[in-house]
Symmetry: C2
Subunit: 146 residues, 2 copies
């Protein structure tokens, strides 16, 4: 089972989108401000939240086109799942197709994470369009799990 | 394939959430301001957007607990899919578990609709918590399809 999303950033180049997904400064601008690690292929990036830590191994980097991660640390439901960001230009927009694939059950946490991913991807869009996202701890609350 | 989401509205009763999902005034407050039709079981509710119209037959109404719709008019990918809102109280929140089930393919439109559903469910949360949602045509743009 997969979580799917799509956002489009106006007047942002594919390279700018790729940069926001593949540099520590970029990632700190939309997902969590406490991001450390190695963003090269084979490296592990650690994303820290109040509620816990997520560790992603970078699996695929195709500049301006595609970023792929696999979850190597974090909530049990996340371990081994994969994250993919497919990037393309379309008129005045750069589009990101997002897939968080490999959930084994449609647990309530999957419902929560799906809504929360939308919030963070809209934060990515805001970062690219306006220069400022809303990364954790400034992210929008969706429910009692935050 | 299903789109899943979860939102929680603070200090809103299950009855208030149910009302926002089962009355024309409620639906106009968070999804689209141009909503007409019959909200009883077996009735059809028509939701009008700039881009087109969606018609839902009301399949299930369990007051304060559950609302179920089936899509009888709208985009080809939507026809025959089902929408379910499961409602429950949890501490200071009323939780809504949302499922848009029965997509046959993970098409780009499914990615778009997943992000857009998050936007509208956060509009529902805002309506319940603050008295004002952001229904179409005042909804948040997510991409070039709006």
């Amino acid at each position: 089972m997969d979580i799917l999303h799509k956002v489009g950033a106006r007047s942002a180049s594919p390279d700018a989108v790729y940069g926001a997904l593949t540099t520590l400064d970029g990632l700190r601008g939309w997902w969590t401000s406490d991001t450390v690690g190695d963003t090269e292929v084979g490296g592990v990036v650690t994303f820290r939240f109040t509620e816990g830590v997520i560790e992603m191994e970078v699996r695929e980097l195709d500049p301006g086109r595609r970023v792929g991660w696999v979850v190597v640390g974090g909530p049990d439901d996340w371990i081994g799942t994969t994250l993919t960001f497919d990037i393309r230009e379309d008129g005045d927009f750069t589009i990101v197709l997002f897939t968080h694939a490999g959930w084994t059950e449609p647990v309530e946490f999957m419902h929560h994470c799906s809504t929360k991913w939308a919030v963070f991807l809209l934060s990515l869009k805001a970062l690219l369009e306006m220069g400022e996202g809303a990364p954790h701890p400034h992210d929008v609350e969706v429910d009692e799990w935050d």
